[in-house]
């Protein structure tokens, strides 16, 4: 089962729409509520990152009987130093992002905490791709 959602950079009013739709789908599929919460929190953090930092992005959702895989791919400035970006408290967010209640340098670390697996790759001036996987049976 596959879905995809477009995310506009800078559009804070709409940020969270994709994560909300994904939550509805997972509920309909009767996925364990703990797994739903971890999935949508991680996805929402990623969606807010796209809105906060990128020009545009797409969230790809792929669900099978074993796992949920969510890939958040954006066109944007990219991340020069991924290790630094993964550090709690490190942020390059604008004051506008901070006014929305984000930009404290907690998004990527919280995605990692909630996901069973996470991979991140980025190219400066091109964009960033974050993939998270949640296993449906053996909770890790």
């Amino acid at each position: 089962m596959q879905f995809e959602y477009n995310v506009d950079g800078g559009n804070f009013t709409r940020a969270g729409f994709a994560s909300s739709e994904i939550k509805k789908i997972l509920k309909k599929l009767n996925v364990d509520i703990g797994i739903i919460k971890r999935t949508v929190v991680a996805t929402y953090e990623g969606e807010v990152n796209i809105v906060a930092h990128a020009y545009s992005g797409t969230i790809y959702v792929d669900i099978d009987t074993e796992r949920i895989r969510i890939t958040l791919k954006d066109e944007g400035p990219g991340i020069p130093d991924i290790d630094q970006a993964m550090e709690e408290g490190y942020s390059t967010a604008s004051s506008q992002v901070r006014e929305m209640g984000f930009g404290a340098g907690m998004g990527l670390p919280n995605m990692k905490k909630n996901a069973d697996e996470m991979q991140i790759s980025s190219e400066v001036d091109k964009g960033t791709e974050v993939e998270i996987v949640m296993f449906l049976h053996n909770k890790e």
Partner: protein, 114 residues
């Protein structure tokens, strides 16, 4: 503590979710930083905040938080109310500061998360 008791204690207005006034919260958390809210693992959390925007409602939705008190006289916009209603959230507006709101709830026995 039930929503109706929270509303009475804080002299707060229930903006939406009136039909859920018997919903009961277990613990409370106060923050204007949604990133901190998104790290919570508890169930039946009451969120107290002075940050009134769409992302506050979205954060509550993603975190399975069903009751939000907007303190410091912050107003909930019609757009926020619609999104809250779509997600069966109970939303209250309260004129007290976050400090006083938390103080009254704590005094009445509402537990913190940590």
């Amino acid at each position: 503590m039930k929503v109706k008791e929270i509303a009475r204690l804080l002299d707060a207005r229930i903006v939406c979710g009136q039909e859920r006034e018997d919903y009961s919260i277990d613990v409370a958390f106060a923050s204007d930083l949604m990133s901190d809210v998104l790290t919570l693992k508890n169930d039946n959390v009451l969120l107290i905040t002075g940050l009134a925007n769409m992302q506050t409602i979205r954060t509550a939705e993603m975190s399975d938080i069903q009751c939000v008190v907007f303190a410091r006289n912050k107003r909930v916009t019609p757009e926020m109310t619609t999104l809250a209603e779509d997600n069966d959230l109970v939303v209250l507006e309260c004129r007290y500061s976050v400090f006083k709101t938390c103080g009254l709830l704590y005094q009445a026995g509402v537990e913190p998360i940590f």
